[in-house]
Symmetry: C2
Subunit: 272 residues, 2 copies
Amino acid sequence: MDRYTIPPDAFLGDIPVRTPLEPGQVALVGTGPGDPELLTLRALRIIRQAEVVLYDNLVSDEIMALVPAQVERIYVGKERAKHTMRQESINALLSEQARRGRRVVRLKGGDPFVFGRGGEEIETLAADGVNFQVVPGITAALGVSSYAGIPLTHRDYAQACIFVTGHLKDGTCNLDWPALARPRQTVVFYMGLVGLAEICRQLVAHGLPAGTAAAIVQQGTTSSQRTVIGDLSTLPERAQAAGVRAPSLIIVGEVVRLREKLDWYAGARAEG
Amino acid sequence: MDRYTIPPDAFLGDIPVRTPLEPGQVALVGTGPGDPELLTLRALRIIRQAEVVLYDNLVSDEIMALVPAQVERIYVGKERAKHTMRQESINALLSEQARRGRRVVRLKGGDPFVFGRGGEEIETLAADGVNFQVVPGITAALGVSSYAGIPLTHRDYAQACIFVTGHLKDGTCNLDWPALARPRQTVVFYMGLVGLAEICRQLVAHGLPAGTAAAIVQQGTTSSQRTVIGDLSTLPERAQAAGVRAPSLIIVGEVVRLREKLDWYAGARAEG
């Protein structure tokens, strides 16, 4: 083993390491929605073995602080309408670093296989013959709903939950609204803030009652978490009045009403 | 602090503890789909602070081995058609333990808010005036898909993913088939093994092509992971021929085809 191995530690000593990070291998690592305590043990162990880390703006400073000081860091951040590095360049960089025989970690916010383009990044690696592994993470829908006190499923209210991206290209709506506007399911919209009014309007137009409960949560799971509650008719105005900003997550469904009883996270402030 | 506090540890020392487990408080903790390395740091820390742990058969022996030896363990397992302890009794027991001023941990497989009845358990606690917190976990859909090399979303194949329970009561089908049988989404069925043939039949009857790719994964994320691949017309027979047993997860959607390129987990054996 090398200088980046994990220090001897009785705390984790009972858990076998099944997937060590090999030289020339890329680990695609989900880091969760924000709270660094939501990292998995496997993610932390892999990070401690890295020789180079590629990261973007969805990975918090607190998590980057866990990367050992001597590890090279490469910022490949992408922001909406301002792509710092094109996806193709990121993919090529991952391959190049691995081919140099380094232990490469690609950090992603949330889970790499849920709206993270993780599949695309490792498709390139596979095509290039580069060895890789995937570390799942707490996707925003799971983390944010837990910290907001909103169960995604509940026998009385929702038998299903569906995750979609609300990032509407050029103002057009290409979501499958008839599938989203169904009773007894919870719909979670990632990146939906810009389209919030349109999302609420379309769900009602496709059959959901205007009184269907809905929430928008800003910076969920962090100490800055803010939650605005309403329904499909009131949420857009309330979110605007509260000045909600990205990153945020929208949760639509009757389970949102449970928050009144189940809100537990002291870091949170309720509004609206 | 007390004897169950976490030992001094530079490894985790940089991460602040935002949600310590208080006396008289219940922590509802998701432990992920099986691989103990998929525990979150927060889950592990909470477990190390417990005075009593309630668990069921969805929590692996490897994870139970992380509970300090002196902590009381109470088995409240439920198995299909053989409820060891009724839900009401579990809820009452959690309240009772907390009222005695103990630090109580309720371990759940996967994520407590996704088909875990976590919402119901803490509703009772809220009604009883008991303090609680929720620790999200890697739900089976995330963990199993990562280890099976199947991205849940992908720009070319799936803009949405939907999680449902395939546990059909009394052989009847009360799922919202029209919402599930849509193109360009991935559907994950929890507990669907018994109903696999019916699930495939209904999806085709409601409009999905019989050639839609599908997979069933047994004991995903563990060293015993087994994956059977097929489509909606072939998967039931292949799963039966392979002798697939619970716990298992069914993934339906064109993303399943990516596994051929993205399968990375050495612990896995492909069949069918």
